[in-house]
């Protein structure tokens, strides 16, 4: 077995068993964990506080308890998270950070206070008007507030030195991820659509420092492998999240590889370069200011369509696959706008409506296969 494949398998295993992966990370590091809801949370602050940020992007659990709080037309990631909170699956968390990026998240933040009263919630508002001064100042103040709440939870102050160190760890992580996705394009046989997703996802359940080392090793190992000709189709993926994993099995089966992504759970976390001036809190704020083409951050120019077109060109992809999380208002509102831009650019799109609890993949199988047939 090649070195690359053994790292891939290890990361895949972690992503497929998040609970075990988190428990192992906590045991190995001796640290405590803070849950991080989508879309963005200041993980650096948590890391600086000596704790492990854990990603909370739902999962395929049967929804029974969550109906106490949520109607069925609520985004399935949020229904899953509430379900897990009520099942006790998150009891290892010392607290959760819930940012209010959309109307559903605002309600989830409130419901959490009742659905899991034993796990304190740190609510957080990211400014939408983040490009004006008042918004920037508000962002820094929110971050300082969250810093204070984390200090209370950990019982220790978070010093500037600790923040600098954590920021450096995350900068290394982000740069390693950018490098990985670039190299992975050349190796779709080793890093197929499903592996790519799981490898990136594994980072949510690991200590970022150790995870970054593995990603670097994997990238180096890939570089050493010879580039084999790929007979499938390359696409760019967009949306909130490319799940459930069984969905990606269909991509693998039909030889469709993801050459680049604009997924909230994946590249949106690490694609934006940081500024180097100012305090760490300011640098964290700039990262939010500078993030582009993300539906959860107000952007009157709406650059997403153009960004996708460029990604398609850069990677030589044949089309764009939209993973539309059903009932995700912001993502659904962006779609008609970038769809039109893609169509005008002559780029085929495949629209897949997904939920975390999917019982039948027959129609998706037909759509993916038809898309592949159409592009072949």
């Amino acid at each position: 077995m090649s070195k690359a494949i053994s790292i891939v398998q290890e990361l895949e295993a972690a992503a497929l068993s998040p609970y075990q992966a988190v428990m192992r990370t906590l045991k190995e590091t001796g640290k405590e964990a803070i849950g991080c809801f989508p879309i963005y949370t200041p993980e650096e602050l948590i890391y600086a506080a000596g704790m492990i940020p854990v990603g909370m992007w739902g999962g395929d659990t049967e929804l029974k308890l969550a109906d106490r709080y949520l109607q069925t037309f609520c985004c399935s990631i949020m229904r899953s998270n509430i379900e897990y909170s009520m099942m006790g699956a998150y009891d290892m968390l010392k607290a959760v950070i819930i940012p209010t990026f959309c109307d559903t998240l605002k309600c989830i933040c409130e419901n959490w206070k009742v659905s899991a009263p034993h796990i304190p919630v740190i609510p957080m508002a990211y400014p939408q008007n983040r490009r004006i001064e008042a918004g920037f100042v508000y962002m820094t103040e929110e971050l300082e507030r969250v810093r204070g709440e984390l200090e209370t939870i950990s019982g220790k102050p978070i010093t500037e030195a600790m923040l600098e160190e954590a920021f450096a760890v995350y900068e290394a992580y982000r740069s390693a991820m950018r490098e990985f996705v670039k190299v992975a394009v050349e190796h779709p046989e080793t890093i197929n659509a499903k592996s790519r997703h799981l490898i990136i996802k594994a980072g949510y359940f690991s200590d970022k420092k150790a995870y970054t080392d593995k990603i670097r090793m994997l990238t180096e190992a890939l570089k050493e492998e010879s580039v084999k000709p790929f007979h499938g189709i390359k696409v760019v993926a967009t949306g909130l999240i490319a799940e459930p994993p069984a969905l990606l099995d269909i991509f693998v089966k039909n030889n469709v590889a993801i050459a680049a992504d604009d997924l909230a759970q994946e590249s949106r976390q690490f694609r934006t370069l940081s500024r180097s001036d100012g305090s760490v809190i300011e640098r964290l704020s700039w990262r939010v200011v500078d993030q582009q083409g993300c539906t959860f951050l107000y952007e009157v120019e709406k650059t997403r369509g153009q960004m996708l077109i460029e990604q398609v060109k850069e990677t030589g992809s044949k089309g764009v696959v939209i993973f539309m999380m059903k009932f995700c208002d912001p993502e659904e509102f962006d779609y008609p706008v970038y769809k039109e831009e893609l169509e005008q650019a002559g780029i085929p799109v495949l629209y897949l409506e997904t939920e975390q609890q999917m019982d039948s993949f027959a129609q998706i199988q037909t759509r993916v296969q038809s898309f592949a047939e159409m592009l072949a």
């Binding site: 605002k106 989830i108 419901n111 008042a134 208002d329 659904e332």
Partner: protein, 409 residues
């Protein structure tokens, strides 16, 4: 002044609705800029700048009530909007494409003015309008208040945005912002809101002189006319009428008696307005209040920008569960409610996803019964008359049982 005596507030309301839309269409025809704005936005700035403004939410509701929504909804869905998105947005985005409505035409905008205190959905909706129509957008982001009170740093952020918006408006109109006039508009807006609140408070009397479905009609005007003299006159007039009716002991309807008093949670089902109204009236149920009277009771001291910022962030939809619970419990007591009808409105996730918990808490705190029904504010396809009827009947049975128990002591 003689005219005033003959004119009822309802007639005046209808005149004002016509005047509002005609005025905006006229402004457009004269080459003046037109603004589209969200329903609880700092309209004081627009009024000060004398900008003709229409409110897409009002317009969508009017189209819905006149049963014309589907054409616009189908247009928007045809272009990729999901049927799960807010139907006000779908109607308006459809209208922005078709630009013609049998129910009511509005002029196309030159400027957009959006405030997220009512939801984050309007951010996406207005972003899309700005991109499609290629026009400027002034955005007010009012962060959700997850604490009981509005936090100080949020107020500062919102005040900063109001100041920034004034600069944007000066750039857009190429005119200086008149702070003296601004002060007057603030004063007038506060006075109008006070009459709105005092008028709707008459429903506390038993029987209520106010039929709550009328409140839905007047609501359109508190959205678009808080900052001008017409609006002020209308709500004072309405208030005086309700006061007279209350003092004469008159109830909401001449043809029936008020037997039960309920609160309606959420927006009306505009396409099924008469169906939803009649099913209530049949049992003598009067909707005496909702969370809306307070949502437009936007009050602050004249010339206090921070106070204004705070007032605009303080509406029900932008508050946390504890606040909302206290608010509804207070309504139950103040308005002596027998029950609550919760509209699980497919369009409004922000209200829906707290509704179950609010319902449980209010029931625990007050002991009054309630029902939830499925519907939508403007999409006629998401409502079942049979389901609504059954649930209302169930509510009546529960309210009757309560009354019976009270009679028995």
């Amino acid at each position: 002044m003689d005219d005033d005596k003959k004119l009822t507030s309802k007639e005046f309301l209808n005149q004002l609705v016509a005047k509002h839309y005609e005025g905006a269409l006229q402004a457009k025809a004269e080459g003046k800029p037109v603004v589209w704005a969200t329903s609880i936005c700092p309209q004081e700035l627009l009024e000060t700048m004398d900008l003709a403004t229409v409110y897409p939410e009002n317009h969508a509701a009017a189209i819905g009530a006149r049963k014309g929504a589907l054409d616009f909804i189908e247009n928007a869905e045809g272009r990729g909007y999901s049927s799960d998105n807010c139907s006000y947005a779908r109607v308006n985005l459809g209208y922005a494409d078709i630009q013609k409505a049998e129910a009511q035409d509005i002029p196309m905008p030159d400027l957009l003015f959006c405030c997220s205190n009512i939801c984050n959905t309007v951010i996406k909706w207005y972003e899309n309008l700005a991109k499609t129509l290629q026009i400027p957008l002034i955005m007010f982001d009012m962060p959700f208040n997850h604490t009981y009170e509005v936090p100080a740093h949020s107020v500062k952020y919102m005040k900063g945005q109001i100041e920034y918006a004034i600069g944007q408006l000066e750039a857009f109109t190429k005119k200086r912002f008149d702070y003296d006039k601004f002060g007057e508009v603030m004063e007038l807006s506060n006075a109008t809101c006070e009459w709105w609140k005092k008028a709707t408070d008459w429903a506390k009397v038993i029987p209520s002189p106010l039929n709550g479905f009328d409140m839905f009609n007047y609501m359109a005007m508190i959205v678009c006319m808080r900052g001008n003299a017409d609006g002020h006159r209308l709500f004072k007039m309405w208030h005086d009428e309700l006061e007279a009716k209350a003092k004469a002991g008159l109830g909401p309807w001449s043809s029936a008696e008020e037997k039960y008093r309920v609160m309606w949670d959420g927006i009306a089902c505009w396409p099924h307005l008469s169906t939803t109204f009649k099913a209530l009236k049949k049992y003598g149920i009067n909707m005496v209040t909702s969370t809306y009277p307070d949502s437009w009771n936007v009050r602050y001291e004249k010339n206090d920008l921070a106070g204004m910022a705070k007032a605009y962030s303080s509406n029900y939809a932008n508050r946390n569960l504890d606040y909302d619970e206290d608010n509804v419990v207070r309504l139950v007591k103040d308005f002596k409610l027998d029950g609550i009808v919760y509209h699980s409105n497919r369009s409004c996730k922000l209200m829906d996803f707290r509704q179950y918990e609010i319902q449980r808490r209010v029931e625990a705190a007050t002991g009054i019964p309630s029902v939830v029904f499925d519907g939508d504010q403007t999409d006629p396809r998401a409502f079942s008359e049979a389901q609504y009827e059954t649930r209302i009947q169930a509510l009546v049975e529960m309210m009757e049982e309560n009354k019976e128990a009270r009679r028995k002591g």
